[in-house]
Subunit: 256 residues, 5 copies
């Protein structure tokens, strides 16, 4: 998991515990309330998405948070090396290299170029692939968004249950306060699930997705350029334009 | 109905009953409140959509939840078989096969190809059909969305009615609590209708629609490819690019 | 007015009266509250749109709810008949027919075709017309949407007025309840105006508009096809693709 | 200012005064509350937009509400006259006419046509101009939208200040009501600023902008048509298609 | 920092202090509440964006608020001078001039033109660069937007914590008011963070970005025009069309 997420989640929880005060913590831990709010949110997610997609999404999310992506600079470096080799030894020379590539998308693209597939078809196939990767990522972000919308609703449902029960039986005035405190706990949980977890993580997944999409577009551009026999310098120039100026110096350095 | 929806709806209701406590359940069952909230939502839906479309949508929804769709892998398999037969025996040989096809869209497309309709016209006709199927699905999702927006509003209306009645007649202080509890029940119902049912099911319908659209686009692509006499290997390669990498292995396996 | 709207509006009002209880009804009728909420909403609409457009929109709305549109099936039938006659007797033979057409859009299109106007220009003129009809319909839906957004706001304004007056003068504790009940009435009205009337009717207008747009697009497609001398069978095939499969059988039946 | 806006604003304020009751009016006038809510909203607008743009927008808004625009019918009439003169006496004859044109956009377009500028360049220049006019109008609407979003927030901030002060010092129970009444005044002001002024006027500016854009597009279309030497009848036919059928009869009448 | 932002932020804070009353100010300063609301918002931002991007964004924001941009008039003046020199002495003569250019984007564009890069490639490279600058700016605005959405949520979380603690222990009725006052402070902070700072600054960043994008597009257009050997008068005319009529007189004046 990236450091920013660790800091963000850890920090928010620490701040809440500190705000509550460790000695008061037990008042905020209520298993039935957790079940209603958290469980309800999970149930809502199950009602919202097909089962296969939910499991699919878990993979996407795990991938996004834990797998190492190539940086744009590394990607450009690799593509320029391929272009150089293709220019020196012909594009068929990349066949062996392609086997060592770890990124499935890049491997497939190089393979298609080596096989002599028509440029239009390569572009079609890889673009479709990019579209699907993007859609899958979008599904992940949408799942968290939906959970972030449902959690406060289930929190409010729990509070309504508590209020109705309390209001229906107010014989003991002293119990009103504590009962209402318990009723509010689900609203509290719902807000935490949404604002500490789901809404920020949905945004983060979108950021991961955008970063990965840029890498994939770099690869697509590089493969097309390489296949049309472009001079490696041109390949580099084209690809470098794709990345932020701040990263270009780094890309150049990597290229040595 | 798919398993995820069953789990989601069943789980949410179970959690709520558990949260309320079975013995307190009667306090949460109030027929007039149900009529105002549920009936009001249904009335709002009637005011929002033409009658024909409402019935139409019921069919779409039933279809979405209960009918079996071909998987992408099955669809590709079938289309590649058609391409092989067309290449071996000529496209007219598909005429007999077309009669056995269950999917109306695919049957119509093959029929048009067999009839020698111009590719442009086939594409036009099938694309229009896809647009309409998509629009009908969109209508279904929109109906649930509208219901999900109206339900809490009618719930709040019911609560306002209860509050006004209660506030206008506060001679008996002991009745304030119970009266207010009853007033809140419609808000409770409105939130359940929206967050347990309408909002998740609207999302699920969108997912079903996206899945079916992908199948239809696969079919359109396959029919166009097959009609232009593409090699079955090319047909397969093109279509496989349309589906998620994770499903490709499965598609290949199905192809044997 | 279509039946669904009648059911929806009538049902919602009946349910509310039933929820309130007929004997309590007078407590919910307060002329000043109606003036503030309803009048405020109308004033907000006047501030939001140009005068000419507001009157314009009244016409559009009346039209949408009360005028009879051709069904897609009837439209196709008529266009195919025109195509047959144009093929038999030449396109000029449609001149006399055009005079009997009730739909202004169709009449204009046929007239343009008869006059020998260039296809590109016909398409431009009719497309512009479609754009403007769509925009006018959109304006109608937007007016109701705006009213639906302003009504609860004016309802809340009325409640704030009531609350401030009540809180400023709490010498008689017994009057607090009733005063607050009265204060809530404007919120109640605002919610009814929005959720029973404006929001559903805005959606319904969008539906009417989409249906009418489809008819107009059918007509445009039919006129272009007819003018280019297409075989009536082709005209029919093209147009039928425009409508929902479920309506096609009906269209065929109408064609006899 | 157009009549609808006058009716809308005047009516809403009258209704509120009536709802409050003239004798109670002083309770709703609180200078510090006005400063916090109104001033806060203005400050928020300053934080939201560059200074130059804020002054710019004031001009746009003044223009939109007070300047007289040509109607579509007048615009078409003028363009057709120009087309007639250009056809009779050559396009250079328009040079003198161009000087009398009041609308800067039209004058510039005619001047460019007279100067023999290439059609493509004329179109580019005028389209860019339209884009910028539209953007400026959009900025005006956005400013009111932002103010309409910030006003209730500052109103709530004021109420929170009042509540915190009141709750922190509840030694005199009799002062609770009046203090809370005062606290609510800022919420009341925030809602008025937003719902009586900003939100409707933002919508009205959008409507003005759409109307002016249509006039500009008419002019662009007319200038291009005129420059290509189109027959004045064709110019008229093309331009008339741009306006609503209801306005066409009027346009024809103007043409006499 | 631009004057409008200074006025906006300073004014809003002054108004709030004035509304609270300087003597009551201590009641609104609560370090733990600040930590929960402000710290929680910062944590939420860390959970929402990758670390690299957060630091990146700080630079973008600092740049937007403090760096001096060329005005459109200055940009046009400079580009027309370049066009004149290129026409007089050939495009290579710009090589020396390019070294003195401060704007990296313009320098790169001129350099590419001098190097004889193909127009299509120059356009591609510079457009990509514009896209990335825009995306970075968009990220800055999005960060503030996200913070503006999270701050009120964390404020409400803090208030919920306070309410639950207070309700759970109501043995001393006199402490209810002050406790509730403290509980509301986080909501107060959340609203200030969002409405005084984040939401307006997000909008302002969007405005800065739009202004800078216009300058960059001007530069791109000017470089393309200059490279194709356009007459400096044409360059000026094309570029002037890009800016608001109100700024044109100024641009002309700058040109002398």
């Amino acid at each position: 998991m990236d450091i920013a997420t660790l800091i963000g989640l850890g920090g928010a929880i620490t701040l809440l515990v500190f705000g509550i005060g460790p000695t008061n913590l037990p008042a905020f831990i209520d298993i039935p309330s957790m079940l209603i709010t958290g469980g309800g949110t999970v149930c809502g997610v199950f009602s919202s998405f097909p089962l296969s997609r939910i499991f699919n999404i878990i993979g996407v999310v795990k991938n996004a948070f834990f797998s190492k992506q190539l940086t744009p600079a590394q990607t450009i470096k690799q593509l320029v090396e391929f272009a150089e080799q293709a220019r020196r030894e012909g594009i068929l020379a990349l066949e062996a290299r392609a086997q060592e590539i770890q990124d499935d998308f890049l491997k497939k693209g190089i393979q298609l170029a080596v096989d002599g597939t028509e440029p239009e078809l390569i572009k079609d196939i890889l673009s479709t692939e990019i579209t699907f990767i993007e859609r899958r990522h979008g599904d992940g972000a949408k799942l968290f968004e939906q959970a972030g919308a449902l959690a406060p609703a289930f929190g409010m449902l729990g509070t309504l249950v508590g209020l109705v029960l309390m209001l229906g039986n107010m014989s003991d005035p002293d119990s009103i306060g504590p009962n209402m405190a318990v009723a509010l706990i689900t609203t509290f949980y719902g807000s935490i699930i949404a604002n500490v977890f789901c809404i920020p993580l949905s945004e983060k997944l979108k950021g991961y997705s955008a970063a990965e999409m840029m890498i994939k577009e770099l690869m697509l551009e590089g493969i097309m350029s390489l296949q049309s026999g472009d001079n490696p310098r041109i390949v580099e120039q084209k690809l470098t334009a794709f990345i932020e100026p701040g990263l270009r110096a780094q890309a150049m350095k990597e290229r040595g």
